[in-house]
Amino acid sequence: MANKLTKIKWKHYINYIAVAIVTIVFGSLAFAGALPSSALYLLEKIAISIILAVSLSMVVGFLGELSLGHAGFMCVGAYLGGKASALLEPMLRGVPAGKEIALVISLVIGGVVAALFGIIIGLPALRLKGDYLAIVTLAFGEIVRSVFMNTSTESFGGALGLSTPRYNKNFLFIIAFVLVLVCLAVTQNLIRSKHGRAITAIRDNEIAARATGINVTKYKLAVFTISSLFAGVAGVLYSYSNYNVQSAKFSYNYSIEILVMVVLGGMGSINGSIIAATLITYLDNTLQTVLTGDLAVLQDLLYALILIVIVIYNNAPALKNFRERFNLQALLKRKFDPNHQKDDEAKWDRVPTKIEMNEVLSVDVQPQMSTLDPDKKEGV
């Protein structure tokens, strides 16, 4: 029995456990009425950010494609789910657990419709590579936003936004964190399965992956669809955590904010995405509520400086030695376990990025001006 327990790869479950503990601790505090609204709102936002970051991390970190339209899929989920809940709420009034039924139905509607959009956009767009795919997803997000912005007042509210029922703030964050667990379960089981290996193989070398018989299009589309599905779910949660869904929120800036979470968390690291999403959302919220009045102008300045410093510290090749010297993990290991060896199997959620983005993203400049033989320059 004890043997069995030690065989469980605890590293696989650490994030489930962490999220579950957070949910239980804060959940019980909320039941006891010890949490003020500011904490409840912040927890909702953090959960939504985590779902967005983890789902985007599938596309960017594991599939190796750059998407700048995640907020667009979220927008679809928020509007469709929000509309569904606004319509269902009066119908189910009086029915036992009517609100919960409405919530589940709108989650399904928002998620599925966003996933459908993922397929519609993914089918043609996945022919494109690198920055071309990135700009098409950005364009898609802006189109979705513009279309919802110009709807009539009766359908989706137009410029005034769609008014949606807000779910009880004492419980919504618990539901949101349960959905975080669902999102983690789906994502991690996919990534750790043989399909996940196929996906990372596509990221590391698409042609080689294709040559080994992996159906690249199928996998790309599947990842894109699942990612959009969870973006849609996050959108429905968003509509439940606000009284109004306004399309102005879902601009490319929001997509970029989600991308920042994924990149800061480390490409291909789900735990990293979770932590970065939490940190950034917390930082954003703190800057917003602490820097009031005349100090408000410093918010963006501080945010920008923190962002630049962290990215340079984490990524600059020149700082590699410095980073290794102050490497917390290495320090701890040296202290406690000199013979520590890495467990490769436990690393499925942190496959090191071997991708040469330069190669994926590059497109030839000015072929007609080139004096080089185009065949020679690529066969390095």
């Binding site: 960017v60 022919r127 364009a139 090749p317």
Partner: protein, 290 residues
């Protein structure tokens, strides 16, 4: 007549986009990075023109100072924020570029306040030929843009530095082996791109005198779209893409039924073009090898 006016208007919007897109495309071609802060350099250029106009009152001098300042700014941004990340993942550079963009916008608000400034660069009036009314600023924008584009093409094609730029964009490693100072070339590219951004700022202020710290954000994104439509990395592509975007924008705005969707329509054009030509209009389809 109205259609010709719309078309001319589209050309002048488009040539501004093209000038911005050139900055995007050159930096992309050589440093292989998306410089999201490029749009905000335009804004900084705008504020420089504003300062000169308020203190000296000469628009040409304003343009000159703006170009100089933007060149210095662009080069320093490259040195401080992008150069340490050379060799790191391009996504990391993308994120610092976004950071720099926020930084420039909020610094501008701290220095110049939250109220947008009115900068009337020059009051030039209209040229009237028969029933055709064309503001002079449009002609100036068009003329300058053509000169800039021709000059840039000649520079890249015939000067040693220009050819070195092509070499670096083709193959950084090989270029280095041939004795090209890659770092210097990247710096020069940023300098040229930022200088062009100052020109774009000048054109935008000539057209519409409102200056705020978000001046460059949307034009920046649209110019990036234009660069991709034309085939990112390609200089003539940036011009074609920019002009196309401008004309689509102008026409769409004149039709009331679709006017509110103008931004969406521009992006739709992008999607359609990329579906037909996945590397943009003038971009080369890349062969892949293992």
């Amino acid at each position: 007549m109205e259609f010709i006016e719309t078309l001319l208007n589209g050309l002048s919007i488009g040539s501004t986009y093209a000038i911005i897109a050139l900055g995007y495309t050159m930096v992309y071609g050589i440093a292989k990075m998306l410089n999201f802060a490029h749009g905000d350099v335009i804004m900084v250029g705008g504020y420089m023109i504003f300062l000169t106009m308020a203190n000296i009152g000469n628009p040409v001098l304003g343009l000159l100072i703006a170009v100089l300042f933007c060149v210095v700014l662009g080069v320093s941004i490259e040195k401080v924020a992008y150069k340490p990340l050379r060799g790191a993942s391009p996504l990391a550079v993308l994120i610092t570029a976004i950071g720099v963009s926020y930084l420039l916008q909020s610094t501008a608000q701290i220095i110049f306040g939250s109220a947008p400034k009115m900068v009337v660069v020059a009051d030039l009036g209209n040229l009237t030929i028969g029933s055709l009314t064309v503001p002079y600023y449009m002609l100036i924008t068009l003329g300058c843009s053509v000169v800039i584009m021709v000059a840039l093409s000649l520079f890249v094609k015939y000067t040693k530095t220009g050819r070195a730029m092509i070499a670096v964009s083709e193959d950084k490693g090989a270029a280095q082996l041939m004795g090209i100072n890659v770092n210097a070339i990247i710096t020069i590219t940023f300098a040229i791109g930022s200088g062009l951004a100052a020109f774009a700022g000048f054109f935008m202020l000539m057209k519409s005198p409102s200056l705020s710290n978000t001046l460059g954000a949307m034009p920046g994104i649209k110019a990036f779209t234009a660069a991709v439509i034309g085939g990112i990395g390609s200089i003539p592509g940036a011009m074609v893409g920019g002009i196309l975007m401008g004309i689509v924008e102008a026409i769409s705005l004149t039709i009331p039924a679709i006017a509110p969707y103008t931004d969406a329509i521009e992006f739709l054009v992008l999607i359609v073009i990329l579906l037909v030509r996945p590397s943009g209009i003038l971009g080369k389809v890349r062969r892949e090898k293992v």
